[in-house]
Structures are given as C-alpha cells and as structure tokens.
Subunit: 346 residues, 2 copies
Amino acid sequence: MEYMHTEIKAFCNKILMHVGVSEANAKLVTDNLVTADLRGVSSHGVARLPVYIKRIQLGLINPNPNPKVIKSTSTTVLIDGDNGLGQINVTDGVNRAISIAQENGQSMVGIKNTNHIGICADYVLKVAKEGMIGFCVGNASAHMAPWGGIRPILGTNPISVGVPAGRFPAIVLDMATSTVARGKILLAAKKGDKIPLGWALDKDGNPTEDAEKARFGTVLPFGGPKGYGLSLLVDILAGVLTGANFGSKVPSMTEDFETPLNLGAFISVFRIDNFMSLKQFEERIEELINEIKGSPAAPNVDEIYLPGEIEHNRMQEGLKKGIGLDEKVINDLNLLAESLNIAERI
Amino acid sequence: MEYMHTEIKAFCNKILMHVGVSEANAKLVTDNLVTADLRGVSSHGVARLPVYIKRIQLGLINPNPNPKVIKSTSTTVLIDGDNGLGQINVTDGVNRAISIAQENGQSMVGIKNTNHIGICADYVLKVAKEGMIGFCVGNASAHMAPWGGIRPILGTNPISVGVPAGRFPAIVLDMATSTVARGKILLAAKKGDKIPLGWALDKDGNPTEDAEKARFGTVLPFGGPKGYGLSLLVDILAGVLTGANFGSKVPSMTEDFETPLNLGAFISVFRIDNFMSLKQFEERIEELINEIKGSPAAPNVDEIYLPGEIEHNRMQEGLKKGIGLDEKVINDLNLLAESLNIAERI
C-alpha cells in the first residue's frame, strides 16, 4: 500500500499529540520515523510508533521532556534528556552540536536518559547539509553477545557518519553493528522461514538457521570480532561515558514494560575549514566519488553506489510517489488510533 | 626463532641510522615496528623495514623530515609531514593531539605528505595511557574495490580507537577495513595455498579461492558494504580532508618505486572529564568489562576477550620471553644489513 509522506505524518502526529506530545515535538518524531520509511529502512519507520505510544502511556517515556545541560565546556555538552523520546533529545543534541561547531570549530554532545533514537542517518544528514562532518551513535537494548560469548550484553548499536559531497548527495554511512537487524530474524520466525548461518546464535551459543531459536539467542556482530569491537565502542561512548545505561542493564524496549530505558547517544561535529576550505574539500570529494561511480562494476552489478546513495534515491522517489508500507504496519497504526479513540484511519 | 625485543630494536635502529635517520627518529620507527611484532601483528612488524629502507634509498622517503603546521585553530592542526616516515609524523601528530586535548578538552590533527604509519594500536594506546580516548586512522595503497566494483580504489585503511579501562589493560580496537590483511593473500599465493571465499575477488570481480588470482584482483571489505563504507570514511578523513593522496592516486608502497606515497592520517583525542570524572568512567568501564569477561562462553571458546586484550597479553609475554620471528623476515633483515655494509647480523 502506497501512502504520501504528508498523509502518514499527519496521522502519526495526531496519535503522538493525543498522548500528550506537543505539536513541535510530535513533528520531530514523525519526521524521523517517516524519513526511515522514505529511505527504505522500514525497521526504523512508523512501525515503531505503537511501542513508543505504549511506553508513553505506561509512564516509561516523558512526552514533554525538559532536557538539562549537566556539564559543558567550550566545545562539549552533556545533556540529561529527561527521559524524552529519542528523536526529541537527539535533535536538540544535534542542533547544539552544530551551533557549537559553527562557533568553535568542533563539538561533542553526550546525551543520557533518553529513548530509542530512530534512524541516525537523519541526524548526520542534517550536519552534512550545514557543510560539516557529523558522527552520531546510540546504544540499544542488549541483543548481541560479546564475540565468543552467548549472553546478550550489547545492542545492535548503530554508527552513523555524514559527509558533505558537493554536487552529489551527502555521503551517509548508517549501519547497525550486527550482521542484520533483529527485526529480520523476528520476521523470519513469524513466517517460519529459515535464516542464513551467520545471522544469529541460539541461546546456547550454537550457530543456527532456525529463526525461532535465534529469537531466544543472540544476533551476531557484522565482521565477527570487528563488529563486536565497534558495538562495544558505541556502548562506551553513548552509554558508559554519558551516564546512561550500558551493557545488559539496558532493558528491552519491546519486552520490558516496567523500566525506563535510560539510553544514551553521542554526537560529534566538526568544521571542514579547520583543515581546508569547504570548496576545496568538495572538489576533492567529487573527484573521489566520480572515480568510484565511474569505475567498472563486477559481474551482475548494475551500478556502484556511495554509502547512503540508494537510500537517498529511494527518498527522492518516495517523496514524489509515496511510500510503500506493510499491511501489518498500517493495521497496527489503525488499531492504535482506535484504541486511543481517534476517529481517523489511514 | 625467538629474539629479545631489545636485540631486534638495536639491530633495526642501526639499519635506519645507516640510511640517515636520526637516532631519536629511528627509535620511534623501531619501537612501532617491534610493538607490532610483540602484539602478534607481524604484518606490521620489522618485516616492513626493508621496503622502508628501499624507499629512503630511492629518495622516496625523507629520512629526517621537518613537519610543518599548515593550518591550526585552538583545537585542530593540519600538518605537512615533509614526506617523513609515517611513524615519525604520526608520533608527532599524536603528541600534539594529546597536548591540545589536555589544554582545550579535545583535538583533531590531520597529517598529509606522510608514509606507511605502521601499527595504529601503538598511537591510540599512548592516548589511553594519558586517560583520554583516542582515534587514529590512515589511508593506504589502493587494493580494495568499492562494493560492487572491481578496480582497486580504496586501501585496507585501518581504524583504531583506544579507551582507558581502569585496572584492566586499555581497550584497543585496531582493525583493517578488509576481511583479512593483503599480506595473508600474498603469503598463500607464495605457498600455493587456497584462500577462503570472501577474502578477495579476481581481476574481473569474481569471487575466488585462488590466491594467485586474488593477488591480481582486489581484497574484499569486512562485512561487505559496511566495511566499504568505513574504508571510504578513512580515505575521506585521512586523504581527502588533509590534502594527501586519496582513492587510486595512492601509489603502491611495494610495487611503485618512482613516486612518494603522500599518505594521510587523521587523529582525534578527547578528555573524558568533559563528560564525567575519569574515576567515575573507569568504575563504569570496569563494570562493563567484568560483565563481558564474566559472561558464559560459547561452545569451544575458552575465554571472552576485550578488543586488544589478546594482543596486550602477547606483548606482556613477548617482552619477557622474546618474539618469535619468521626465518624469512630475519634473512631479509640480515641481507639488508649486508647490502648496507653493516657488520652485525641478527
């Protein structure tokens, strides 16, 4: 089913405002969720709204947070997110990081006491649009074991970086540190499908193709010990360093409905003209992109893409033609509206 | 064959000084190379010395560089390495990054016009020992194709991060962005061994188990498009942003003996107490490490390690008991000494 982004946004805003989120804050959250759907990353799209709403209703997320600066220097800020929706806190954090970097050359912003931050590409893209380089990571519920282990201690903790690219769309690297999103395993389990070896371990630490067993086990990091190292690094920056939860103390967003998540995020932004003029940088990065795009493709490959390029193309098309959303996602949103006594349906 | 680190260092210092490297600079280079051997990363150890010497003799590396600051702000520096040995330039860069961060909270140092920087773990470990978090990347000769491509445009560009860990050894993530070091493919080709699928493509972009074909093809990034994205990011930070060579313009260190490499490196350092006291951070990271080390291991796994822990243990043992070096590496060093009319042999 295809929907215009404006239509979904209006519907989701209504739902968020119904549970007490201010109009401005609802817009931030909805923009981020719909951006994920537009980019084809439906695991981080409006499919997440029902669990956000449930947590707000249970008092586990503060619908109108009042984030406070706990500590700051000329280039760094540590923020207590006041248990707000992640998109509200990280948008605030990115805005601060951008303005500090504009003034003082670079910045680092840590956030604790926040929730699921949504699609990170959205934040670093905003930095790249300001002609700066941005880095954003967040920790997440523990579903991944340390390399060699079997107990989930780390999240699929995403890493994102945005780089301005002159006349090309910004380069946007945004990746989970697991081989695949846990959502794909849950989906396979629901359908009774097998999963490829390398995606997950069962609860005893054995490699498994059984999605149902994987569901009760752990997801595997991408690239083995390397992905484990990167996931750990995200937990250190976003969790340990900010004062947020870390390790297995991070509760499950979708299974624990008694404890606030207290997630953390970490953002770093810097000006390119610390090193060379933006113009010179853009000429150089255009040269690199031209070399990559113009180089010969492997057999059965149509085109070579830069990180974030496929998602950018999807978004441009989706903005014009609408977004394809899963029937189940739509049903869940309509059921949610019904449960809230909202008359509209999508 | 086992050698004491002091013995190898003395021998390598003599060789470096013989081709004009000052005693202080020789010591920096040798310490870095031998640290790699001590950590068990022999691909970056004293085996590299012959090619360094050859490039110095051919006038492709400046044995006594005079690095210059091209651009600076209160927290950033861009350095022209004056075509020095990478270890000399990056040690200088890391020292600057440490002292700027100590004074102003954080720092970024870009370096252009340098050479092979050796083992990065060495640099970020130095930062961690100062109670700060350090990040260091460098670009390298193009041996990796962009994801979906067949022409080598990117290097196996390493990423390293060092984090102080209280009573535990510092956490040191140091990894190539390829699945394996290209050296392993060259070694398999020499021995006539097969290589596993996933290591490399042949020159036409087909997956190959034939090491000889892989030698003339490209190495594959770890984790597919994710490793490609990270390798590209390193080339952007270390190459594009610093004014160094980038993309396929980076010559091959081991095959092109006519052109200086003009490699780049990028270092970032920040104080933990921008966010919380070092003591509090250390307590928290010790808690995370204890949780990881104390968690149950998968079948056939003896112990769960933190990034850099295995290498740290090897180093402690190697410092006491000596380093095992390949016979071929020793022969090459002795031949090198002979060719330079140095009387000593190792």
